[in-house]
């Protein structure tokens, strides 16, 4: 992180509908954090420079960017593209946000205590974690979120935050179910594999994120998941079942190796609640024991879509290269870009 003296700058944030808000931000605080401290919760996801959800464009002044993946910024850096989670001001700035003021949440995110009530390995490199929210100060213990959204949680003892999307649906039992990818040397991964135990209490922020079902969409819904990108898509499919949505649904779930396959029982259970549902789990590098489909889920889905008369809405979640490949393959197959809804999840150590 850049280190400069604690100098404050005025950072003016401009939304697409022309609303301006100015927040005070010192040189060691990210614009994203300064905005949140000022009561403006801007769009973001990994908050580690790896996903691009907080992309914006600087139009005046200067920021210094901390560590980040330059490929995820929506606008090239030489045209002013920045990531707000990694932008530390060096002058007063004017920054354009790529969304309307209505998308800025003005309530500060609330924090909840959540107890680990389930912890088991779902597959090689995947941890299945269940949290149960404790009643908050207001007495509420509901797990309130839209399917597709994510929760940020603090890694105990370290104080860094990581974001994960639940695989279950909003409920009043306070239950949050996650499939978390384990990364060698990852802060959360080390905790989950080394120190975590049922009964531990984590701090969880309220739900965030724009990824979700287009509720009034009438087209068939196709879902393409890469690895633990299955989690938010499973939530959407479960929501469809619980809410009685009538749209036909298809799921393509891809992993690299056979021993990384998980959540097969949950996927099979979806067929009971969805009137028109089928799923395909596909392994990229199968071992001899794998009897299912091989290859990658993007190619499999795109090949089938190319044969359709009516283009479905497609929901994609996986690592950035997979999502990029999905956009290319799906548009080539005839899916209009505005019918592709994607979330990139990045591997943040």
């Amino acid at each position: 992180m850049p280190t400069e003296t604690q100098v404050g700058y005025d950072v003016t944030l401009i939304t697409t509908d022309g609303q301006e808000s100015t927040v005070r931000c010192d040189a060691d605080t990210s614009v994203l954090a300064a905005a949140e401290n000022a009561g403006l919760v801007l769009k973001s996801s990994c908050q580690a420079g790896g996903c691009g959800a907080c992309s914006a464009v600087i139009k005046g002044g200067r920021v210094e960017m901390g560590d980040h993946d330059p490929d995820v910024i929506e606008v090239p850096e030489d045209e002013g593209g920045i990531l707000l989670c990694r932008s530390f001001p060096r002058q007063d700035c004017r920054i354009e946000l790529p969304y309307a003021s209505s998308k800025i949440v003005t309530a500060p995110p609330s924090r909840h205590e959540a107890e680990i009530t389930g912890l088991d390995r779902a597959a090689d490199g995947v941890m299945h974690v269940t949290l149960t929210l404790r009643p908050g100060e207001d007495g509420s213990s509901s797990a309130d979120f839209e399917s597709g959204q994510f929760f940020r949680m603090m890694v105990p003892d370290i104080g860094v935050r990581r974001a994960y999307s639940p695989a279950n649906v909003a409920n009043w039992d306070g239950q949050l179910e996650f499939y978390i990818r384990l990364l060698p040397g990852g802060a959360m991964s080390d905790y989950l594999t080394g120190r975590a135990a049922v009964g531990d209490v984590l701090t969880v922020m309220s739900a965030d994120g724009e990824f979700g079902l287009v509720e009034n969409g009438l087209r068939p819904r196709w879902f393409i998941a890469g690895g633990t990108g299955l989690s938010p898509l499973l939530s959407m499919l479960r929501r469809m079942g619980e809410w009685g949505d009538a749209q036909p649904a298809r799921l393509f779930f891809g992993v690299t190796r056979h021993d990384e396959v998980f959540a097969q029982d949950s996927i099979a259970a979806l067929a009971e609640s969805l009137p028109d549902f089928s799923a395909e789990t596909v392994v990229w590098h199968p071992d001899p024991n794998w009897t299912g489909a091989t290859g990658n889920p993007v190619d499999l889905a795109a090949a089938e879509i190319a044969l359709l008369d009516e283009m479905p809405d497609v929901y994609v979640c996986g690592p950035p290269p997979m999502v990029d490949a999905a956009y290319a393959a799906l548009t080539a197959a005839g899916v209009p870009e505005d019918q592709i809804h994607a979330e990139r999840f990045s591997a943040v150590i």
Binding site: S142, D144, F145, W172, L213, E215, N216, L218, W243, A246
Partner: protein, 560 residues
Amino acid sequence: MFCYQCEQTDRTPQPGRPNLLSFGCASTKGNCGKDATTAALQDALVEVNLGIGQYAQKLRELGAPDPRFAAHASFDLFTTLTNVNFNASRFMTLIADAVGVREEAKAAYEAAARAAGKEPETLTGAAQFVPADKISEVVAQAATVGVDADLDTLGADIIGLRNLNLYGLKGVCAYAHHAHALGYRSDETDTGIENSLAFLGAGPTEADALLGEALELGSVNYKVMAMLDAANTGSFGDPVPTPVRVTPVVGKAILVSGHDLHDLAAILQATAGTGINVYTHGEMLPAHGYPELHKHSHLAGNYGGAWQDQQRDFTAFPGPIVMTSNCLIEPQPAYRNRIFTTGPVGWPGIRHVETSDLSLVVKAAQSLPGFTTEVSEETVTTGFARNAVLSVADKVIDAVKAGDIKRFLLIGGCDGAAPGRNYYTDVADHAPDDTILMTLGCNKYRFNDHEFGEIGGIPRLLDLGQCNDSYSAVQIALALADAFDCGVNDLPLSLFVSWFEQKAAAVLLTLLSLGIRNIRLGPTLPAFLTPAVVDILVDKFALKPIGDPAEDLAAAMAGA
């Protein structure tokens, strides 16, 4: 899309519009939030139900009536009212179901005809409409069955009169469904509904016939509202004047909105003994006057104002919300996961529950915080339905004869967000002290917390109930006319009616069918009433658009 069924329809003059109708929502989304796809599917659903009515009418004529058909159409048409159901995927299911019911009606009619030794007729019009399988194709079909179909050949007046019938029928069906939900029905009301469906299904084109049928529909609605009155009072007792707490009490809470007393009763039963308090919202306020609902000690009070304030009220409410009928507007993120719909209501992405299983709503209430701060008690009073008012009829009549009561002002109907509705507040606030103000519907929220005092022990503000309780108002008027030995139009009674949706259209037709004159209607006249039709209504019934509140009040006090 084209839709002009409610008061908030787009009234921006658009000379370039390739449509002879002056006003209406005609873009991709209506002012109510209904999108073009849903609007088209609703029109298609109505068309299939008109066909059900055509066969059901024929079946009844053969002496084999089947009450399922009027009941089915009542529910389906209710879903198409303003601010009821916005869920396009639900409409595809409803259309498919309605086609199945129409096939049953057709088969029953043909079997009955053959049993009677007659060759079944081939019905034309809506009976022949075959909805496509794909949504995009049904949407395309809506051009031929939509509310502005045949405009080019029939003209705006005929189309407007058709829609006066259609929208009135939607209101009739909504009231009928509320009664059906409580187990009440009658051959007379079923017949009226079937006849109106069949009339519209055949594609009427004569102005006189359309106007005559509209007034006949008003008579049908009078019977339907009598049935609903019987259903409500038969199920829950005669309303009695009841102070209703409008400030919350500490504890877990559920908010129940809409009009359906059956659903409220189910929620009260499901929460009995759980410690959860139940609050009414909007048009549910008069429920407190019914003894069999009021007896539940956990029916704690009323929360919030009229429907158009729901996004603010629901956001602040610390528990689940159940929407049992109109008016629903787009649920905000703050409460999307804790609002539920029942019966005909729907919104994409919002949970729909059956009142037979309210466990999820109860669980939500137990999980959510509820009210945690004690607030001092404030109340409003409701429950002045016909029996309550008529029980003091002698007192009222004496007060009129003594000159203590100069006039009754009925200020009733819907509230809405559009400007111009302050008129009703002004009329209430500036009405002379020797007037009695009678309210029904949700526009009472504009002034029901104002202090109006009493006349000889009779509160000056008498809340008769929901818009559904217009029957009660008519009964009071008829009883007073009887007591004074005069006609209703000769009573010292003035009507200031605020309309918003199609139930109000049905009530208006009822008032007209009873020959009631000098109704002041606002805040604007329905867009489907073309100038020529308005002229007829003004000529026959002295229907008046609202004007300046002070001038209107002065004119009303003078008997005009």
